[in-house]
Amino acid sequence: MKKLASVLMTILALASGLAMPAVAMPTEDTLKAACSSAQSQLNRVEKSDAALRINRGRIYNETLELFYAMNARLASNQIAAAELASITADFDSELTHFREDYNDYDDDMTDLIEMKCDKKPTEFYQKLEDVRDQRLGLDNRIKRLSELMSEYQSSFKELKLDEK
């Protein structure tokens, strides 16, 4: 049964690989012709991302302060909430990683924008792919932070403070 399952999984994986069309990398001529305007667009995206980073960062900071305040309040009322403390620690850690990842992403984005892309088109595209991966990483971080907020909310409701 296990063997059958692994064979089926292998066939499915191969089939999905064949079904996906190969993504064609732009040619050097295409990159040389379009990279300057691409850099202008990237510059606009970088500026927009900075505002997004500040707005999201402010709310995450306020959320963390809210969690710490509630944890302290629960402790002062002698209500055990180890789960909430654990989620708060995870949130703090994830937020720190988000800030660090954003700094790295922004540095690479700046390098990408300032690069002489008409002279190094292939390097430009490779750097662009790296920046895309970093952006995806940032997106995953904010999804995780949202999940942790929901987890805290659920765990808080489970405390059933009305009954205490």
Partner: protein, 127 residues
């Protein structure tokens, strides 16, 4: 015959004010360099909307609307619970309205980096 050191000492003793001014300037340069280094290293520069080029996005930065922070002491009653839930829900709603870091704004299509003749079908696949 006076040594070079003795001559130099004599020169600066007779030009103490000039020495003081040079020392102040050197100290100011050192402190400014240290401040700029910290400004870059700490990441504060990345959040500084007063930089040139950021004029258009300054308006997008929102300020906090919380008048008071949630008290970390006091009894846990219905009012305290409701206040907490209300604040958390507001943060979640505000985050939901904000943009994300998805790659649609830097895709090949958006940046016009597609090869001539490439067609994007409705599913988003390139042919």
């Amino acid at each position: 015959m006076k040594s070079k050191l003795a001559k130099a000492k004599e020169f600066w003793q007779s030009h103490q004010f000039a020495l003081f001014v040079i020392a102040c300037i050197a100290f100011a340069i050192l402190m400014t360099s240290a401040s700029l280094w910290l400004y870059r290293q700490s990441g504060a520069m990345k959040l500084d909307m007063s930089r040139p080029g950021y004029e258009k996005v300054r308006k997008k930065v929102e300020k906090s609307q919380d008048d008071e922070s949630y008290p970390s002491s006091g009894k846990i009653d219905k009012k305290a619970e409701d206040d907490f839930n209300k604040r958390l829900k507001k943060y979640q709603d505000d985050l939901g309205k904000m943009g994300t870091f998805d790659n649609s704004s830097i895709s090949d299509e958006t940046l016009n980096l597609k090869n001539p003749g490439e067609v994007t079908v409705d599913s988003g696949e390139t042919q």
